[in-house]
Amino acid sequence: MISHSLYALNSLTSIGNLAVDEAYRRRGIATKLIKVAEKIVEKWGDKYLFAGVDCTNEGAIAMYLRLGYKVVLDERDLINRTARGIPRLFIMKTIAS
């Protein structure tokens, strides 16, 4: 169960940018980068790691789900969403118990 305070999204540790050169894709580099990020978050003593992904980016979504992330918010469900291009999925993982 996601706690109420978890939704203070501004204070959450999040992945802001994740990019892999096109020539190097499908080699597990993004997966490894996320695992490195999780170790950093654990070292910082933070409990959750958060990311926003374009809902059309099926490859990235599948990767995050495979790594144990859960979708906490689908921007398409928001009634008062401002027009910002492609709607995103907000996903989260509990890093430390």
Binding site: A8, G16, N17, A19, A23, L33, A51
Partner: protein
């Protein structure tokens, strides 16, 4: 008559073994499809914290990933996106990494050309092949949105969010 299925099985097994392509070779064949040259050794990828001198490559990678692809007539826009990204990364690197104002990390994955036996392979690709930024970043969620679970998010959109 009873030996016949056994013979067929043995033949099939031998054929499959002979035609089997090892995983590494498959990866290289995939690399060739991307226009890269063939090499007999998989390039080594290592992971480390970004350094200041990596930032131009990081900005190029991120702007190409999130703003591209560009047509010929969009070259000026491409340069503008790159400069904007570089400015943002330099700023965040200075404030958050060097001055340690916030918890922040910039991780890069780097291709080590020395791990490849074919030197032309190393020259054909860029050194920096991946990037991840991590920190307490401003939320991309619009202000005061209501969630289906009955909770309201108090979030700001005061800074650009490049995506992930």
């Amino acid at each position: 008559m009873l030996l016949w299925p056994l013979l067929v099985s043995c033949f099939t097994l031998c054929l499959c073994t002979a035609l089997h392509i090892p995983y590494r070779e498959k990866q290289h064949l995939r690399g060739m499809n991307n226009g890269r040259l063939f090499s007999s050794v998989k390039p080594a990828i290592s992971y480390r914290n970004a350094r200041e001198q990596d930032l131009p490559q990081v900005a190029r990678l991120v702007s190409d990933t999130f703003s591209g692809p560009y047509a010929l007539h969009q070259l000026l826009q491409k340069e503008k996106d790159y400069k904007s990204s570089l400015e943002q990364f330099n700023d965040r690197y200075d404030k958050f990494i060097l001055q340690r104002r916030k918890k922040h990390a910039m991780v890069v994955s780097v291709h080590d050309p020395l791990a490849s036996t074919n030197s032309s392979d190393a020259a054909a690709v860029t050194d920096l092949c991946g990037f991840l930024e991590l920190g307490v970043l401003p939320s991309p969620v619009p202000v005061n949105v209501s969630l289906p679970v009955g909770v309201t998010i108090l979030a700001t959109t005061d800074q650009p969010y490049l995506g992930s």
